[in-house]
């Protein structure tokens, strides 16, 4: 036997009580794990943003178009190293419920600017630039539908239609690309903007947004200011910001996920802190005589304090560990069905680490009062009370 066995025996001496406390803790950590996984997935775009990448969108909001002519004008701004542009396609495959992220892009420059995020090999670049109806497909999306290079597939738009009234564009898959960073996902498709623009029935010669690289992150502010000033008082005013700020603003449309996570988890934790803390105070109080006996046998106050804290820590680690495991199972079960909207939904090492930190904090917080009471207990008082 050792102190660990003693702690575990004490914790499970009343099994129903211990199980109920573990269940309440695991519920809190399961909520935490799932919400944190969503929060991380939502914010993954911010994490992979490059410091020297700026995004130019319509000042009204990013759903409004910009003229294609801005491409050359922005490329000429001092400090701009390279520019590309893209347009949201609003795609789906076969059925509107099969929502698919499709972007119409300028082939050469888009691949250059996003090359740090995705692995486009030379052959697929060459084919994409050569094939007007070509499409590059991310590995996850290709795997989802069983697509391979050479397949010709119809991809439809819920926003645009062709001049003949059709909503469907036929594209040829000329490459399947992988990712270079773990935080990004490959559940999307790139088609060529020129093909899309020539065939669509409205919005001709407009683009959704531009992405540019500056010579250095240090001149980002100056470049942003120059671009926005250049189009001031025009029909299409621009708002230029870092890619990180753009992604953050995009996610903000869905609500402040971080705040939701904090509030829900905070409420759950405060409730559990009170329940477990109160239960532990009572549980230790019931054992006053036993604690006095331990001290009589020679256990020091500090050691008794460690035993009680160990008990609440063990409780939090068991409950929290099961809770996080459940959260991992829940997110894993939802990953495929939500991969289009929330890519990379998972309880990753960062979340597990945060959860362990929270478990330790919860264990210490709930054990502090009973452990302190046990530490201070005078043997004579304890023997008399029990």
């Amino acid at each position: 036997m050792n102190d660990g066995v003693l702690i575990a025996k004490n914790l499970f001496r009343k099994k129903l009580r211990a199980i109920l406390m573990i269940v309440s803790i695991l519920i809190a950590f399961a909520i935490f794990g799932v919400l944190a996984a969503f929060e991380r997935a939502f914010n993954a775009g911010q994490e992979v943003s490059e410091d020297d990448r700026l995004v130019v969108v319509n000042k009204i909001n990013f759903t409004q178009p910009l003229p294609i002519s801005y491409f050359n004008r922005i490329a000429a701004v001092p400090g701009v190293r390279q520019v590309t542009y893209a347009n949201w396609f609003g795609g789906y495959y076969q059925d509107p419920k099969n929502f698919t992220i499709v972007m119409a892009v300028e082939p050469a420059t888009y691949l250059d600017i996003t090359a740090s995020d995705f692995a486009y090999d030379g052959a697929m670049r060459e084919r994409f630039e050569r094939t007007r109806t070509g499409a590059l497909v991310g590995r996850q999306l290709a795997a989802k539908w069983g697509w391979k290079v050479g397949d010709r597939i119809p991809i439809s738009s819920s926003i645009f239609q062709q001049k003949d009234g059709s909503h469907s564009w036929e594209v040829e898959i000329v490459g399947v690309f992988d990712k270079n960073k773990p935080q990004v996902d490959t559940n999307f498709m790139l088609i060529r903007w020129d093909y899309f623009d020539e065939t669509r029935s409205f919005g001709k010669d407009t683009i959704g947004w531009l992405i540019l690289k500056t010579d250095s992150p240090a001149i980002n502010d100056r470049v942003s200011e120059t671009i926005d000033k250049m189009f001031e008082n025009s029909f299409y005013e621009t708002a230029t910001d870092t890619e990180k700020a753009f992604n953050k603003a995009f996610m903000a449309q869905l609500g402040n996920v971080a705040l939701i996570v904090t509030l829900v988890v905070g409420a759950a934790f405060v409730t559990i802190l009170m329940i477990v803390g109160n239960t532990m105070v009572m549980a230790v109080r019931e054992r006053t005589r036993e604690i006095a006996v331990l001290k009589t046998l020679g256990f020091s106050g500090a050691r008794v304090l460690r035993l009680v804290l160990g008990e609440t820590l063990l409780l939090a680690l068991i409950g929290g560990g099961i809770g996080i495991a459940i959260a991992a199972a829940i997110t894993a079960s939802m990953r495929d069905s939500l991969s289009t909207f929330v890519p990379n939904l998972e309880v990753g090492p960062g979340i597990v680490l945060s959860a362990v930190g929270l478990m330790v904090a919860l264990g210490l917080a709930t054990g502090l009062v009973p452990a302190w009471n046990a530490f201070r207990l005078k043997i004579a008082d304890g023997m008399g009370r029990g």
């Binding site: 050792n2 066995v5 046998l297 020679g298 256990f299 500090a302 004579a380």
Partner: protein, 231 residues
Amino acid sequence: MNDSALVRLSGVGKGFVKGRDAISIFEHLDLAIPEGDFVAVMGPSGSGKSTLLNLLGGIDRPDTGAIEIAGTRIDGLSEGRLSRWRAATIGFVFQFYNLMPMLTAAQNVELPLLLTRLGGRERRAHVAAALEVVGLADRAKHYPREMSGGQQQRVAIARAIVSDPKLLLCDEPTGDLDRGSADEILAMLKSLNADLGKTVVMVTHDPAAARYAKRTLHLDKGHFEEKELAA
């Protein structure tokens, strides 16, 4: 006074405050118990028998005077040092056994050994020996709820002797037992005293129990009166 005494109280005073009144239990108590003695302490309720035991075990501190046990002056020790001293020097036997209900007999006996540097194998050997001494080797894996009162008290005695303390302090060790079980326990204490040389101080109300001791001290109104008893 005996200079080779294992236990020595010199001018010990102890009182407590109840409401506005200060009540004195002892004012100037002297006591010497030589090593190997078996002393029964008797006296009316409220005479301070349990307080005396608490003082001898370092559970309580005297207001005045000095307490020296096995060569250590304990009345001035810090709580931490007192805990270590108690673990090494004193074995306690309580009226209500005070075993941990969630631990087996062997685990209960092992508790004091968790405070030593002994490894797991050595601890198990000591526990087995202690349970053998009290005749419960076959009950090592039983929980307290699976044992009679007499058996539980024997486990408590095994726990008290497992770390080989010089002094056993017993507070009404047979107060919760029937006559037969009480005699078994008292015979065991006598054997520990006679065969293993343990010094035993036993508080009791029971004259029959006191007869197992080598001598009886009557504590009343803060003073001792001694009677030698034949076993």
